[in-house]
Symmetry: C2
Subunit: 199 residues, 2 copies
Amino acid sequence: MSHTQTQPTELVGRELILQEAARLFTRQGYNGISMREIAEACQMTKAALYYHFTNKQDLLREILKTYLSSMQQQLSLAKESSGSVRQRIYGVAHAIFDQNPQQRAVIHLIFVDAPHLEENLRGEIGCLYHDQFSGVLETILQEGIDHNEIVPVDPRLSAQLLLGMMYPFFHPRRALTSEETWTAVELILKIFFEGVEKR
Amino acid sequence: MSHTQTQPTELVGRELILQEAARLFTRQGYNGISMREIAEACQMTKAALYYHFTNKQDLLREILKTYLSSMQQQLSLAKESSGSVRQRIYGVAHAIFDQNPQQRAVIHLIFVDAPHLEENLRGEIGCLYHDQFSGVLETILQEGIDHNEIVPVDPRLSAQLLLGMMYPFFHPRRALTSEETWTAVELILKIFFEGVEKR
DNA sequence: CCTACCGATCGGTAGG
DNA sequence: CCTACCGATCGGTAGG
């Protein structure tokens, strides 16, 4: 019997390291996890980690780049879809929150740990984050302004605020049910588009 | 000539440690800063730190407790003031953003570093944060619902979302001007109360 | 508050 | 020459 379909738990080598390191970094922070702990989680030696990755920062970089690259594909689908701005932003929310919480938590790493990295890597991640993630949101919002669907706000700033409301739900610590998560997402989009004030 | 008014740069002992540790923790993260680095910033030995604080976690705890205690006083003034919900929430925003960026950054520590602390301390900080900070916002929002000023939303969740929008502006890295900060705060409150959708 | 240290662990690398 | 690691240890630093 041959298993042609690899289960997530059956990952080996480089892919296993990326998965386990992402899991540990999101739980304890980049500086709160040692290469030894990552190696133990992978049931490898520390040296095996350094065979696959130059150093600890390189490991984090690859986690973030891999994630952002896959997110861009999902987000682009939402961006190119037909429908109102609100519907397309809803598509973006689906691209983010249909992922399992562990994948989604990688965004949290970008918010929390990237700022503490050395200048070069921080800049590199910042560019990727904008090009492949927040920039997609900004483009949709700009189109909404151009088509007179939303009021003329700064797209960059308002994209940042929209993502800011989602930020707490990127962290996997307080494991919410799917229902709780979507209740929150619905309220986020309601507030972003309508606000809470009685009219 | 006697200087009865102490400048912030003239702090000594415990107060100096609290200030320098807060500054370093907010820049590099709790796990990214060593006790040795804090000692050097204070021009003390490491042992002097352990004279004033039990250990590294205790030092962080005292930073957060001191901050939350002073914030509660400010926030309570906003809560008890007369005016609409929107005006009182505006007062809360003033209490937060009239502080200098370094003080404000302590909230960032609560968001980013408290989750990685051990269970006991995390719970203690979480309770203080809710009692003295987010809970004040929730109360104001609940009153707004009771007085039919805003639509019936979950006060806890919506307070979290409002603070989520402010979150990026708690971090002192990208030092914004006061004007940029208030442009952002105005947009945050506009979105929270009115949304961005054309009507 | 300092000098003088500790057990252990850090990120990273050697030859095979 | 390669990929995919191993056991052991490097020079320094962590919190206490």
